[in-house]
């Protein structure tokens, strides 16, 4: 692969990780995932209901997309660790997107519980991808306990507010020894491109696509944005200047 994206021991061709939440139905989700070209997509763990459906899992398997279970809804390290272990049983994967949120209103990560859960899960053999605040110090701590990537938010989940503190994301990228994945807050294609231009290895998004007026079209836009942002980073942008610099010869 020309520019592979590697997490732990796995190589991905796509740098766009998708979520499945918010899609109106599985048919729309399928078209969106195909348009996104994603190879890794999150699912949540919930009580099996009377309908007994495992439809989303069947869909991902059919499309050849690796399911990435998350611990959404967990508020403590103990809840998140149990949910991750259940996901490992149900999905037969030791990968987990670790989410431990502090409250329902902001859905911001609870850093103390997150670090505790990350340590426990790494010790238990998981490949841990933690959803974290855009905190450069915490990102290092998560890496130190053995997380396979760090996934800072651009802004709170589902807000579409984009990357509120680009400098923090750059700081995280500049010191990280593991992939940095911009997770949460992406609203539109330019946000995804910006994440990649800032040096993130990948972008994880759901709402921006699943709740767009035309999810399939937005998924394609996100795919293009991630690819364009990555190419721009590798191409090396020009420095920003205060004064104009003529691009045509003077005579």
């Amino acid at each position: 692969m020309d520019d592979p994206f590697v997490i732990a021991d796995r190589e991905f061709g796509s740098r766009l990780i998708m979520g499945t939440g918010g899609a109106a139905n599985l048919a729309v989700l399928e078209r969106s995932l195909l348009a996104a070209g994603t190879e890794l997509t999150t699912v949540a763990m919930r009580r099996m209901d009377a309908a007994g459906g495992t439809g989303v899992l069947d869909l991902l398997r059919r499309l050849g997309i690796e399911p990435l279970p998350n611990t959404a809804g967990c508020r403590t390290a103990a809840e998140a660790v149990l949910t991750a272990r259940l996901a490992r049983e149900a999905l037969e994967t030791n990968w987990v997107k670790l989410e431990v949120v502090a409250d329902e209103r902001t859905l911001l990560p609870d850093s103390v519980e997150l670090l505790d859960a990350a340590q426990q899960l790494v010790d238990d053999g998981f490949v841990v991808l933690p959803y974290t605040n855009d905190d450069p110090v915490l990102a290092l701590r998560l890496e130190e306990v053995g997380c396979a990537a760090v996934m800072p938010l651009g802004s709170p989940i589902g807000t579409g507010l984009g990357i509120r503190n680009p400098h923090n994301i750059e700081l995280i990228v500049s010191r990280a020894g593991v992939p940095v994945i911009l997770d949460a807050g992406i609203g539109t294609a330019s946000d995804a491109a910006q994440a990649m231009e800032l040096g993130c290895s990948a972008v994880l998004l759901a709402t921006a696509v699943t709740r767009a007026q035309d999810p399939e079209r937005m998924a394609a836009a996100m795919r293009g944005a991630v690819e364009a942002g990555r190419s721009a980073l590798l191409a090396g942008r020009i420095p920003q200047r205060f004064w104009a610099q003529a691009s045509s010869p003077a005579r």
């Binding site: 979520g19 939440g21 999150t42 763990m45 919930r46 007994g52 959404a72 996901a87 049983e89």
Partner: protein, 66 residues
């Protein structure tokens, strides 16, 4: 005996196992995981893990999310 399965009380025969509780709720054979009283019970142990009166069984599966 009464056992709570995914929040609903169920009457199960004494000596029932995790596998018996799963049969009662028509759980699919794959794509699910089980916790009894907050501890994961691995698939290989479903048929041999006996439930007790008042026990709590949680059956989870993957849904859209994240």
């Amino acid at each position: 005996m009464l056992v709570v399965v995914n929040g609903t009380e169920r009457e199960l025969a004494d000596g029932s196992t995790v596998a018996d509780a799963l049969a009662v709720i028509d759980a699919p054979p794959t794509g699910i995981a089980v916790a009894v009283n907050g501890e994961v019970v691995r698939r290989a142990e479903w048929a041999s893990t006996a439930l007790a009166q008042g026990g709590s069984v949680e059956v989870l599966t993957a849904v859209q999310g994240g």
